[in-house]
C-alpha cells in the first residue's frame, strides 16, 4: 500500500495503482457517488488529461484533486 493525498485527505491505496484505479479506490473508501464520466483530475497541481489516467501510476505522497465538471452559467 502507499499513501496519497486525495482531495485534502490522506488515504491508502494499492501500490502501482493507475490514477483511474486510485480514484476508484478513493470513491469506494469514501463512499462517494461520483460519475467518472464527469470529473476533472488534478495530479500534483497539474490538470491531467483524461487519456493519461490509465497510463500514469501513482507514487507515494502524490496529491490528487478530483472534482465534478460543471458547465452551468
Amino acid at each position: 500500500m502507499i499513501q496519497i493525498n486525495y482531495n485534502g485527505d490522506q488515504i491508502s491505496i494499492d501500490k502501482n495503482s493507475t490514477i483511474l484505479s486510485a480514484i476508484e479506490q478513493a470513491i469506494l473508501l469514501r463512499d462517494e457517488s461520483i460519475s467518472l464520466k464527469g470529473i476533472a483530475v488534478v495530479y500534483n497541481n497539474k490538470v491531467l488529461p483524461r487519456r493519461l489516467w490509465t497510463e500514469t501510476v501513482c507514487q507515494q505522497s502524490d496529491e490528487l484533486q478530483v472534482f465534478q465538471a460543471v458547465a452551468g452559467g
Binding site: G8, G38, A40, V42, N45, V47, A69, V70, G72, G73
Partner: protein, 253 residues
C-alpha cells in the same frame, strides 16, 4: 480623448495605475461577445457595460423563467417568457445609452457562431452545457480570440482564460470523453455563487481588454462549501484535437 463627463464617470477606474486614461480608452473601444445571458451573462454584461465597454454582442435563445429570478437579478416577474438576450439588452441600454448592444436571440449553434464578430477583443462563455462550450472554444482557438470561460453549479466554480498560442484550451480540460457536467438546473445553485463567478469573469475580461497579466494556463477552482481556492496548471495537451495544431509560443522558445 476622454470627455470631461467620462473622466468623472470612470474616475475610480482611471485612478488605478493599471487602467489610467489609456486603459479607459481601451475599455471604451473594446468589442465583447457574451454567449449565454443567464446567471453569469447578465451580470457580466452589466459590469462590462457599466465599466464603459463600447460594444457588446449578447447571444441567448432562452426565455426568462420563474426559477431564474433568485439569481438572475436583472429579470423581474414581468419578464417571464421574454427572450433573455433581448431583455438584458433593453434594460442595460436604458441605463447606459453609449454602449452598442447587439442581440442574437437564438440558441447557440454553428449558424449563430458565424455571427460572432471575429475582431472581438474577448469572447465570454456564460452558457450552460458542454456542447456549446466546446464549440465556442474551437471557434476562439481557430479565430485566435481570447476566451474567458467560467462555469458554476452547486458550490463549484471553475474559471479559465484561453489566450491564443499561449495556453491549454477548454478541450484540453474537458475532452469529448468527459460526457457529463452539472449545471444549475440539475444540481441547484445559490445566487451568490453565481455572483462570485460572474464578478470574476467580468474582472478576467477587463484584465484581458487592458492587456494585464491574466490567468491563462491555469484552471481555478473554488469550493464554496469549504471556501477553498486552488489553481492547477492547465498545459496544452499535445494530443488535443482542437489546439494541438496551433503552435505555442513556449514551443518556439
Amino acid at each position: 480623448m476622454i470627455t470631461d463627463n467620462d473622466f468623472m464617470r470612470y474616475s475610480r477606474q482611471i485612478l488605478l495605475p493599471e487602467v489610467g486614461e489609456q486603459g479607459q480608452l481601451k475599455i471604451n473601444k473594446a468589442s465583447v461577445v457574451i454567449i449565454g445571458v443567464g446567471g453569469l451573462g447578465a451580470l457580466v454584461a452589466h459590469y462590462l457595460i457599466a465599466a464603459g465597454v463600447g460594444k457588446i454582442h449578447l447571444f441567448d435563445g432562452d426565455n426568462v423563467e420563474l426559477s431564474n429570478l433568485p439569481r438572475q437579478l436583472l429579470f423581474a416577474d414581468e419578464d417571464i417568457g421574454q427572450n433573455k438576450a433581448e431583455t438584458v439588452a433593453d434594460k442595460l441600454w436604458t441605463q447606459y445609452e453609449k454602449c452598442e448592444i447587439n442581440v442574437t436571440n437564438k440558441h447557440f449553434d454553428k449558424q449563430t457562431l458565424q455571427e460572432i464578430d471575429d475582431t472581438a477583443s474577448v469572447v465570454i462563455d456564460c452558457c450552460d452545457n458542454f456542447t456549446a462550450r466546446r464549440s465556442i472554444n474551437q471557434f476562439c482557438v481557430e479565430q485566435e480570440i481570447a476566451l474567458v470561460s467560467v462555469a458554476v453549479a452547486n458550490f463549484n466554480l471553475q474559471a479559465m482564460v484561453y489566450q491564443p498560442n499561449v495556453s491549454g484550451c477548454y478541450q484540453c480540460l474537458y475532452p469529448e470523453s468527459t460526457q457529463t457536467a452539472e449545471n444549475c438546473s440539475t444540481v441547484g445553485v445559490l445566487g451568490p455563487m453565481v455572483g462570485i463567478a460572474a464578478s470574476m469573469q467580468a474582472l478576467l475580461a477587463l484584465k484581458q481588454i487592458l492587456g494585464l497579466p491574466n490567468i491563462s494556463g491555469k484552471l481555478w477552482h473554488f469550493d464554496g462549501i469549504n471556501f477553498n481556492w486552488f489553481a492547477a496548471v492547465l498545459e496544452r495537451d499535445p494530443e488535443c484535437p482542437v489546439c494541438s495544431i496551433i503552435k505555442c509560443e513556449e514551443d518556439s522558445v
